[in-house]
Amino acid sequence: MEGGKACAPSGVFAHLEMLEMQSHEAAVKQEEMEQQEEKLARLKATVQELRLQRDDLQAKVDLQQKGQLGKEGVVLPPAQPSARAVLEWKIKSLKAMLRLFYLTGISGKLTKKGVCFCISTAYEGTYLDSYYLDLLTEPEVQIYRHSVPIFIPLEEIAKKYLQTDIRRFLSVLSDHLNAYVQRRYQADQLQKHFSDQIEGKLQRNSLCDLLVFNYNVSRKSKTFLFKVRLLYGDLCCSLPTEAVVSCASDAPASVAEMAAAHSGLFRRVALHKAFRSFGSA
């Protein structure tokens, strides 16, 4: 307030402005206080409500226990879970956890003579096929049974890693299986959703590492036939390493350019997605 006197000659307005600001600040503070009080009241009410609810539930539980006691006719110390029940509960939750493990793609379970692994494959957030490996651990690790497709080079991968690095073995095998299933899924999607654009049969082999097909492209109300040959040189990859798209030699230059663009697209984007993008373009 000392400032008030000093400022007085320079202007009453400045003083007034300051007073106004002070009053505004006070008002804001008061409002905040009020809000806090309101909140406190609300919370208190909630606490009250929850207490009531708790009492209610407690009453119900008591009633139920009394009822059970009445039925059994034996007096048990109330609400003391047996060690067995606790153990059972723990086992149950652990089992549920183990079941969850398949979401990671590789899970295992001990068997009498070794361990059984399950490799679950997935693509674009969809779980696809699961494959199993039953391993014996005595006298050395060996594959007893499995359901891995014959064209996956299981023997080769086993020879490299099975004895020395089982983690590596499983991860390499999982890569192979995932890539195979993903290639197959793309070809299936293509046949399912874009069969109207495909001319003739889609030719593929078991491992789906070579796809050959023809498709129609319309440009300026004319249709051109593109021939495609996709080679997946990397068996742990779901995208082709080589994509050859060719059109008739007498097609205009713009169409040839388009074929080249498609070839690039096939190498970068999943097959069915590439086709979806043609549709929207």
């Binding site: 399950c118 049974r145 014959i150 023997e155 082999n205």
Partner: protein, 345 residues
């Protein structure tokens, strides 16, 4: 126009069940939709076959079309033939990219280089299987279209499913052509035979129901809920025994349906063992052939123990069939160290 071709088509049509003729002809895609409409499919099969034959004559069908129709028929009804599984081997490892066109070309060239008079036809199916039909002739006679061999090959697998022609002498030629065309070095029969082609595939491709122990949630299968005794006064005396059998059976056979095989054959070549004083047949092998047959052998075996007709955990000789992928066995004396017999592989 070759009359024998038309007659061959007519006889193929006769083999198809009447209500499926139209569907097969549509898949064949040789007669136009308009032509198909002129055929009355509700008359007797003989008349339908003549109608089809006449239309084929108008379209001047050749042996290639006739062969394709035969392939479609055999693909639709594979259980009409007996299939054997062959395994191919190669010395070097590694999978190479498989090109169907290359296989076709090599197979044809290889076979034709030995025998001029053969009809070879291919048809690819969506499951990456190729069906090969071969009709055999001799150096001086035309191929006999009624005594064909069939080969089903899934690319990049070492297994071939062969349904041989009654003309047996051609089998080595066929095997050789297959080995050359698919870049392998050797081929041998696996002693696994059945009419059900799909079950053979399930066995060698390991897609049959195996009981793997995992924590994975398996798709819930509808099980026949055993009728629990409705009458509370009746107590199952041997419940634990029944559960034991059920568990053992499940460990061996898994939950799913079994592959369909019609027989399993065991040839015993073991020594007859007797009291040395009795002096009978001591050095002679005891020859005996046991053949189990059933419309669905593995399902029958599976139901033996639960039905109480055999002790649980059947002999591994019976239960190893899908795992060993063979249904013909020779049982010999185990050499020296153990008197028990064993299965030769």
């Amino acid at each position: 126009m070759d009359e024998t071709v038309v007659e061959y088509i007519r006889r193929t049509v006769l083999k198809i069940p009447r209500d499926k003729i139209k569907a097969v002809l549509q898949e064949w895609d040789f007669l136009s939709e308009k032509q198909l409409q002129t055929i009355k499919f509700n008359q007797i099969k003989d008349n339908i076959s003549y109608d089809v034959a006449q239309l084929c004559e108008e379209n001047s069908a050749d042996i290639k079309q006739a062969a394709i129709l035969d392939i479609i028929y055999n693909y639709t009804y594979p259980n009409k033939r007996l299939w054997s599984v062959y395994q191919m081997r190669k010395t070097g490892g590694g999978t190479e990219t498989f090109d169907l066109q290359v296989l076709k070309k090599k197979f044809k060239r290889q076979l034709r280089s030995v025998l001029k008079n053969v009809t070879i036809n291919f048809r690819e199916y969506e499951d990456s299987a190729i069906w090969i039909r071969i009709a055999w002739g001799t150096p001086y006679t035309k191929p006999n279209q009624y005594k064909t061999s069939y080969v089903v090959y899934h690319s990049q697998t070492p297994y071939v499913f062969i349904s041989p022609s009654v003309l047996k002498s051609n089998l080595p030629l066929l095997c050789q052509a297959l080995v050359v065309a698919s870049n392998y070095h050797d081929i041998c029969a696996m002693e696994l035979r059945s009419h059900s082609l799909n079950s053979l595939k399930d066995i060698v491709f390991k897609t049959y129901s195996q009981n793997f122990q995992t924590y994975c949630p398996k798709p819930i299968q509808e099980r026949n809920v055993a009728p629990e005794s409705e009458d509370l006064r009746i107590i199952q005396e041997n419940r634990s025994e029944k559960e034991r059998i059920k568990r053992l059976n499940r460990e061996v056979f898994g939950d799913g349906p079994q592959p369909q095989l019609e027989f399993a054959q065991y040839k015993l070549e073991t020594m007859f063992k007797s009291n040395p004083k009795m002096d009978v047949l001591d050095k002679e092998p005891f020859r005996c052939l046991v053949k189990f047959s059933s419309p669905h052998l593995l399902e029958s075996l599976k139901s033996l123990a639960p039905a109480g007709m055999a002790d649980a955990a059947l002999s591994p000789l019976l239960t190893c069939i899908p795992h060993k992928a063979r249904n013909y066995f020779k049982i010999k004396e185990k050499k020296a160290f153990s008197p028990e017999s064993f299965v030769t592989r």
